[in-house]
Symmetry: C2
């Protein structure tokens, strides 16, 4: 009832952290809609065309780094992420011919 073995293990400073060395890869998405199983954003082409028309450069950029405060739109946060981590991610850009 005194569980001597478990106590001994917990007290040992030499125990290696097996859980840590076997940890899964980090999530790509750390913050967006973590309450849903899969974040899928669906638009009709007409809707995207309207978004392009409303923009001065007739362009709409969609985030692929999962860091944007305007997700699913890109807000440039990929640049901070790339600079901090050395990664090279960027948006999907859709344009309407003028």
């Amino acid at each position: 009832d005194q569980l001597p073995n478990k106590t001994a293990k917990m007290d040992s400073s030499k125990t290696t952290d097996a859980a840590s060395s076997q940890s899964k890869p980090e999530h790509i998405n750390k913050a967006i809609k973590k309450d849903v199983d899969k974040v899928v954003d669906k638009y009709d082409i007409e809707e995207v065309t309207g978004q392009c028309d409303a923009a001065s450069n007739k362009t709409v950029s969609y985030c692929r780094c999962w860091k944007s405060k305007k997700f699913p739109l890109c807000d440039g946060s990929h640049n901070t992420w790339n600079k901090e981590t050395g990664d090279n991610v960027g948006p999907l850009v859709l344009t309407k011919k003028q």
Copy 2:
């Protein structure tokens, strides 16, 4: 010239791995076009409309998990990634009204 301190450190099995605990976050993109500073994919709306027209479901899905073998298109690899890591990423889906 014999650098005794450095040798002592290297031989010590008790030295903690400071570099590891201070490491940067993992790259989101581990494989796609790692020779370019930023992977941006740009399409004209007409081009996307053509892609939708060519598809039986009038739909085209763009990868946001950076794991697709058909990048920038989604090939379903996000499902494997989500299952293995517990993440919840998914594609941007564009459709054309029929």
